[in-house]
């Protein structure tokens, strides 16, 4: 952790508003991006981010300096997002899932592809909400199946099966994207002198 951040955190613990503002501005776009991954709307992401920041400032004394501050803030954001997700789950209908599996050829093609953020967001948002949540918690945010089961209030085997199905769907979406990108690349290369 750099000295500037250390100093900032100390001043934040003393509830110095200018330091809190500086800390917020340093990490706000990361926190908001994390919140956006777990919801479909910017308004809800803003609510999640606001709650998360209030928690960060109120519980800053619990943060241990030998840990990554960014990781600590991310965990708080993910936990807040999951609380929102579970609250909304009561009002959501079951997602109908149509499984489309990628062929080995598709997967080979996706290996070489360099996906843009827009493509990644498109692929993630194409997943059913339940699969997407488990895939993000496991693959991106690094939670174990046991932790995911506790967070979502489901069985460990449900977490495992949702990850497995989610991964298959995600792979096929990414493979399809790389296949679509390929002809465009070839056409672009043909036009080059």
């Amino acid at each position: 952790m750099d000295d500037e951040l250390k100093d900032l955190l100390e001043r934040c613990k003393a509830e110095e508003r200018s330091a809190q503002t500086a800390l917020y501005r340093r990490f706000s776009s990361k926190v908001f991006a994390t919140a956006l991954r777990y919801t479909d709307s910017r308004d809800e992401a803003a609510d999640i981010a606001q709650e998360s920041w209030v928690k960060v400032f109120r519980h800053l004394t619990k943060f241990k300096e030998f840990n990554s501050f960014e990781g600590w803030v991310r965990r708080i954001t993910v936990n807040t997002a999951i609380t929102h997700y579970r609250r909304n789950l009561k009002h959501r209908y079951h997602d109908d899932v149509t499984e489309t599996l990628a062929t080995p050829l598709d997967l080979e093609a996706s290996k070489k592809a360099d996906f843009t953020m827009s493509e990644i967001h498109t692929a993630m948002s194409a997943l059913p909400k339940g699969y997407r949540t488990v895939v993000q918690l496991y693959l991106v945010d690094g939670y174990s199946h046991k932790e995911i089961a506790e967070m979502l209030g489901v069985d460990i085997n449900t977490s495992k099966s949702q990850l497995s199905r989610g991964r298959k769907q995600l792979q096929s979406f990414l493979a399809a994207m790389s296949q679509r990108a390929k002809p465009a690349d070839e056409a672009g290369r043909a036009l080059d002198p």
Partner: protein, 197 residues
């Protein structure tokens, strides 16, 4: 939740039997972890206003909930005891003397009612005198003379039924009820009745 590792080189552990992470998945992970998105401009002001809002500490909320719960528990524990004491001390009905309604009706005697319930006493005292006089007018004068005595006689007959008249009833025989020529001497005693819950 201490297993999270957001370092770029870290790959989440897979269960035995799971397919290994594909390059596309790992690329997706790296890019999503590094992703940034500019929040709405109003968010910062919303955070400060939420921070400035006084919030009740969790511990005091728990304390209030605990106090309410223990109060209810204490109330539930002592409530039945209080009720029984009240009934025993104040509201236990006491039969002082068996009286025959007919006697009073016939003689037209009006007795003052004793009100045990202290709470009702002021209400009854405040009742208009007209009501009391209406009651006095309607009850004894409309009853023909002698009815009370006849009713009393019937009561005596039943009460004075000799035990011997019931013999054989257990064997299915029917005996006509006869009136004893010499009614059994009645003894009236004071009785008290206790109601316990």
């Amino acid at each position: 939740m201490t297993t999270n590792d957001f370092s770029p080189g870290h790959v989440p552990h897979l269960e035995p039997g799971d397919a290994p992470w594909t390059d596309a998945e790992l690329q997706l992970r790296e890019k999503l972890l590094a992703d940034e998105s500019v929040p709405p401009a109003s968010l910062e002001a919303d955070i400060w206003s939420a921070m400035d809002r006084p919030s009740a500490p969790v511990s005091s909320g728990r304390f209030v909930a605990l106090a309410v719960a223990s109060g209810l528990a204490a109330l539930a524990w002592f409530w039945p005891a209080d009720v029984s004491e009240t009934v025993d001390a104040k509201q236990a009905p006491t039969i002082q003397e068996a009286t025959h309604v007919g006697d009073k009706m016939a003689s037209g005697v009006q007795e003052e009612a004793t009100i045990d319930d202290e709470a009702l006493a002021p209400l009854l005292e405040a009742a208009p005198e007209e009501v009391a006089s209406d009651v006095a007018r309607s009850a004894p004068s409309e009853m023909p003379d002698g009815n009370g005595a006849q009713h009393d006689e019937g009561m005596t007959s039943i009460q004075g039924l000799g035990v011997s008249e019931l013999k054989g009833g257990n064997e299915g025989e029917r005996f006509p009820l006869k009136q004893d020529s010499t009614p059994v001497q009645q003894e009236r005693r004071e009785a008290t009745l206790e109601v316990k819950q």
